[in-house]
Symmetry: C2
Subunit: 339 residues, 2 copies
DNA sequence: TTGTAAGCGTTATCAG
DNA sequence: CTGATAACGCTTACAA
């Protein structure tokens, strides 16, 4: 009863238009190598049949997928959304498709995703941060897959990177906090294992403590997963001690949002009773009350530049050139002088 | 100088193990059809060479990709994150990979993404909502691509759906609001074009007005894009009128969060001065202060069930069976009796 | 249980 | 400018 219509192939189009498959292929890929008349005929055959090139077949023959893979730690919050969006837009401008997958902040999952994307023929890969097992870099190199790191700049990384100096940025912010007279500090950090951004931000804060000749114990550290609720929990843990910190620096804005919200619940006034800072400058940071003092990261610039750099690597087999982007502190209301 | 190592192929493995390519293929796909000894030999050859099957070749030969595509309106906020996460987890359990792309709430983009995913050989598609151009359904049917709708249930939809009754849910919420004595209502709705969830939620609110015999003008409506900031803007617009509403119902929690935050900025107490409600019950709804009264959607249940239903459709070529999930109102503090 | 060989739908090379 | 035709790497009857 039901007519099974298999997807039309190049061959079908060729027959319908009365030309060879080669010509149809040319019409699609290099239209200028075909005379107008033929092209038009082929064009209408394509439309009449509703032909769409078979991706797999195309990949096999051309050994190119025009696909870029990106593996980000999470899609759950806004941290990577803007940058990735810009990355994708730039990619599309150049005819590439983006395949995204998330590693849920797990190194093992990331490795699996990398292999999957490579097996799927990704022409290039965007990875977040530099911390991963060495054999992954070997694999990428052996397979000759161009890969680029974003969200973290390191001149000496195994891979070129387009990002910023997480350590320096947090150092600057911590210096500002200390400069405001805070002497009992805390940091709610993301999990540092396999996450150089988290690790470096923490180091940056420690650097600042040292730089100002303070006792290392002046900085209390809590490591926690990256969800808003974890920030809230960590914050109440910190604040229910005998001598709670006067400033809580958070590894990112999501954690900071959790802290801020929990502060309200605990009846703590921010920044009068306790200062809170974030990192990333996502939209929420501006909307929260008090507005979150945080480190602004040029998300869109980073995404766009990463796309261009990666395409360059893919198309010209160049080693790729990194770039250190600048961040700056955005002062809003959640940070004030120590009481 | 540089040794270009092309990725090892089935053939390489076969030679190394001293068997035919067919046997290697069997070892990978149907291990029980191969004797232990051979299998082991092949296994070590695979490991020694670091072989990974070429995806495109596999797809061409098997005509299956074990890939499911999902097109969601946005990755920018948490609205779809949890459900999609559950969808993915369930898919993985059954050996499928998920390919996600976002349409940015644009019908044209969605269509393009559908075509791309189909061309890439997706075995099945998850779509959000029922509103789309008829020719898209024709295309899917002609190509025999199993597709399922989520986030919106409609018994008579062109496609089977696993979702809830957006209209009824909003109707119930609106009835509660009216029951609390509110007579000047407003709704901050998402863009309704091509978005049945937004459209139906709005209708549900209108139904409630009618149901209670109120003047249709008692419900003021603002349509706006789906970002937190749009919610804030719409809210201040609404509240700076001569006789502002006493309750503002929002099309989703993100819009509601924007409204709530803006209320604080305007010095308006929620719910004393104005009540605000959301829809979706994302994490933020619980963390905001006052907590957001909203409609709870069983995100994870929906994602898991959608995955199972879609796999069933793909593997057994069945037409697919939808399911209507239940929602309920979560009462927190942002809604109170009219002043 | 294992091997042989015929596709799968493109692209690209090489003639014409 | 256009047409044959050989890859591309894998799966899957069909044979042995």
């Amino acid at each position: 009863m039901s007519k099974l219509k298999p997807a039309p192939t190049l061959d079908d189009v060729a027959k319908q238009a009365g030309v060879s498959t080669a010509t149809v292929s040319r019409c699609i890929n290099t239209p200028d190598r075909v005379v107008e008349a033929t092209r038009k005929r082929v064009q209408s055959a394509i439309e009449a049949l509703g032909y769409t090139p078979n991706f797999a077949a195309r990949v096999m023959a051309a050994k190119r997928t025009f696909t870029i893979g990106a593996i980000i730690p999470t899609m759950d919050n806004a941290i990577f959304a803007r940058g990735l969006q810009a990355f994708q837009e730039e990619l599309r401008k150049h005819g590439y498709t983006l395949l995204v997958s998330s590693s849920a902040y797990k190194p093992e999952t990331e490795e699996e995703q990398i292999r999957t994307l490579v097996a799927r023929g990704a022409d290039g890969l965007l990875l977040i941060g530099h911390d991963r097992a060495p054999h992954i870099y070997d694999f990428l190199e052996q397979r000759q897959i161009p890969a680029l790191v974003a969200w973290s700049f390191a001149a000496e990384g195994k891979l070129p990177s387009i990002g910023f100096d997480n350590r320096q940025a947090m150092f600057d912010l911590a210096c500002k906090v200390i400069g405001l007279g805070h002497r009992r500090l805390a940091m709610i950090s993301g999990i540092t294992r396999g996450n150089d951004r988290a690790r470096l931000r923490l180091e940056g804060a420690r650097d600042a403590i040292r730089h100002h000749g303070l006792d290392p114990a002046a900085l209390q550290v809590v490591e926690t997963p990256y969800e808003i609720e974890n920030g809230a929990e960590a914050f109440s843990g910190l604040m229910s001690q005998d001598t709670p910190p006067t400033a809580v620096m958070c590894g990112n804005d999501v954690l900071a949002a959790g802290a801020l919200l929990r502060a309200q619940d605990m009846g703590l006034k921010v920044p009068q009773d306790v200062s809170i800072t974030g990192f990333d400058d996502i939209e929420l940071a501006r909307l929260l009350r008090p507005g979150l003092t945080t480190v602004h990261v040029p998300h869109r610039e980073m995404g766009g530049k990463a796309a261009r750099a990666l395409i360059e690597m893919v198309e010209h087999s160049t080693p790729g050139t990194g770039e250190r982007l600048h961040t700056h502190i955005v002062e809003r209301q959640s940070l004030s002088p120590a009481p």
